[in-house]
């Protein structure tokens, strides 16, 4: 009977378990770690550096060596206080369910995943080409205009539209060159000649309505067109050149696309690593 009991695996298991319990309860190398605060020079140096948010052991060693006894005692007291409070907080489980702590740890993990250098990315021309094809919209270039204008200001006694119309009714005025045009009309607050300016730039200076009206004009180097209105008044336009909005060829913006592509690959790589991590978990959604 006793022999049978002694051969019982469950008893062996319980006996080994008891030994382990005794060992860890009384002989573990970490025995008492929870209620002993050890003040090493290393601890103090770390403590100082984190407090100053500056890190250089040699400098802080020197600083510590120069401390008076009183300063050193103060530093040790602060360290002990922090350490005791921290450990008590852990015992109370205050680190659990704390969003800030959780966020911080996640951030650390993301930093680890970010550490991915350019050199490990190899680019092949075909995939760059297809990246460009998929992301063409990102490289959109606005329409551009080159023109001169003669301006009639809104706040004169006669209406700007009447004055503008009367002005161009004179045949001689219809033949005015761009450079001669400076002497005619009212003072304009910005420029009289615009060269290869984007619609966005022009709408800043003239207003949205003007942009739309200008877009409707066709290029004509010798004919004053209009008058068209802006937020400032009426304008006769000599539209010397315009280019439609376009998406430039890959060749002309190659290195921009390359940079974007590398950024894209890095992001993809990081996401891949995160997905890999998630795979090791079984996720249960219980809403």
């Amino acid at each position: 009977m006793l022999q049978r009991i002694l051969k019982e695996p469950l008893l062996h298991f319980l006996f080994v378990g008891f030994l382990l319990f005794v060992y860890f309860r009384y002989y573990s190398p970490n025995s008492g770690a929870e209620d002993t605060i050890i003040v090493h020079k290393e601890n103090l140096l770390n403590f100082m550096q984190f407090q100053s948010k500056a890190f250089n052991k040699a400098v802080f060693s020197e600083k510590l060596a120069q401390f008076s006894e009183k300063e050193k005692a103060q530093l040790i007291n602060n360290y002990i206080k922090d350490e005791a409070l921290y450990r008590e907080a852990l015992k109370l489980g205050l680190d659990q369910n704390d969003f800030v702590i959780k966020r911080r740890i996640i951030q650390k993990m993301e930093f680890l995943l970010d550490d991915f250098e350019d050199s490990t990315v190899s680019i092949n021309v075909d995939s760059l080409q297809s990246f460009y094809a998929k992301n063409k919209h990102r490289y959109f270039q606005d329409a551009q205009f080159t023109f001169s204008h003669i301006f009639f200001k809104d706040d004169k006694i006669a209406s700007a539209i009447d004055r503008a119309t009367a002005f161009m009714a004179k045949p001689a005025h219809q033949k005015i060159s761009a450079s001669e045009s400076l002497q005619h009309g009212d003072r304009f607050l910005y420029h009289r000649n615009y060269s290869e300016k984007t619609l966005n730039f022009l709408e800043n200076q003239f207003g949205k309505e003007f942009g739309a009206l200008l877009t409707n004009l066709s290029t004509d180097k010798s004919k004053w067109q209009g008058p068209i209105r802006s937020m400032h008044g009426q304008h006769w336009i000599l539209l010397r050149d315009k280019s439609a909005a376009q998406i430039p060829s890959l060749e002309s913006i190659y290195s921009t696309v390359k940079t974007d592509y590398i950024g894209h690959l890095k992001k993809q790589h990081k996401q891949g690593q995160i997905d890999q991590l998630i795979k090791d978990y079984s996720v249960k959604i219980d809403l």
Binding site: F60, D114, L189
Partner: protein
Amino acid sequence: MKFHALILCLFLYSCTNSTENKDTTTSATPKTISNKEVSKNPNKNLYWGDTHIHTNYSSDAFLFGTIMASPDDAYRFAKGEVMTYPPTGEKIQIKRPLDFLVVTDHAEGLGTMLRARNKDPLLLSTEAGKRLAKIVEGKPGIPMFLKWLRAKNLGQTGLTEIDTGKVMESIWTAHNQFADDHNDPGKFSAFIGWEWTSTLGGNNLHRVLFTPQGADVANQFLPYSATHSPNPEDLWEWLEKTTEKYGVDLVSIPHNSNVSGGLMFPDDKDSKGNQIDVSYAKTRAKWEPVVEMTQIKGTSEGHPALSPNDEFANFELWDILLKTSGGNTAERATPNRADFVRYALQDGLKIEENLGVNPYKFGLIGSSDTHTALSSVDEDNFTGKNLIDGGAADKSKPWINDVLHIDFSSSGYAAVWAESNTRRDIYDAFIRKEVYGTTGSRIQLRVFGGWDFDQKDVEQSNFVDIGYQKGVPMGSDLNNTGKSVRLMIHAAKDPAGGNLDRIQVVKSWLADNQTQEKIYNVAWAGDRELDSAGKLSPIGNTVDLKNSTYTNTIGSKELAVVWEDPDFNAAQKAVYYVRVLEIPTPRFSTYASAKLGQDPWTEKEPVIQERAYSSPIWYTPK
């Protein structure tokens, strides 16, 4: 070296952090070669730019982790490309592209961090290079910076060896290539330049330098650094020799006189203690035709303590010296005439009276001095001094000790009147001083000085023609004489900004060898009237602090005037510059607090009146 002394040096340097690493040899977009002649406008066009920005070629920026921000990125961003902003990961883009840019990385150890990091064999063949490579192992940040600074203070970084050696030739050549690749005559001017970073005894004597020529010319010499000499007199001597020897044109632009500890604009002794003489005055005036008066580290126009009658003098001041006596507070400058542009213009008249030459005959610009490589100083799109203050939530935190990120200023830009957007034409405008500065707002400003303007002239559609015919543009001397100085001034609001409040003329003159100043309100919005002292009531304020918005329901979109000096005395030397003020708009710190849904931080004024400062016009009795 004491810890505090290490920390103080942080002021000189900026902190950035980013996790990306960028190939240093990325070249610019291949350009199609065009033989198209760039057309010139004799009446000059207005171009906007920044002559002062840093990238990962600056040791300080690199050590704090601006690994991603190369000169290539700087040009791309300025041209309008969308970038990823490291502090927030958000997309960032300049709202309106710039027309020109000078990348001015610190010459001291230029590009060596990047080379050390990439284990460049040429750099590693030097003893100093080997040491640097050890320093830059691991993650950039404050610990790495301190390691480098310690080595530097022990003389172990071998800056002298590096700044003058083969390695620097190779780095300088690479740096210059970025500018050449991005230069696009008629569309965008990319200049080769650098910063000479002399901090004599913690006093800021920094200058940025640039050339209108390309790498073919610039590669013949190495950039002159403070390692060669920390004295500006030696820099000028080098300029004299180098320009002569290599046929290169160069210009030197002092900045942050506000923290020069009284050394930037001396009226008595030079930086070596020698009496200022004719040669000093001539040399200085020759090499330094322009001063950068407003930037992220504040305004250097004047000081309320020294100009008590200027109610707008207390504006975006910065007094944090690049040194400290220790402790947890920054060491602050005490107001000193030699630290500010207005008094330098005045003392220049006085020195001219005694020596016959005015060393301080300079024009004015703004620029950013950002260490992020991203030059955007719009209040609602400010990229910051360093990348660490980029996120809205970080703005109210201390940068270091008792200095907050919101103590910086979202400023400024250089505006240039030039015949075309080419390196040469823009450079020539700097030499002519037909340039002006703004605090970031794109206020358009024209000033002409003369004797015969009448009020009708400024109303003409071709008032610019009249300006050049009857007078001289900003930055010039009035030749001959007349009854009284007249200034024809035209200002238009930033098309995307606030309306204008007023135009002021700041006049300084010499009476019985005493300097005097007076500020005249000469044109303003609304139906306000001057009081007996010539003061004008405030324009009002439409700013909604909670949402950080304003309306253009007050102010004017355009102000123009022909002003005649009512106190003109033909026997007195005088200098005039124009200051244009916008209506109050939200400060960048207010945009940040609004983004967080908070009230503005109380440490700073929540609204500012953006401004433009013209280059001066001088009158000298015959």
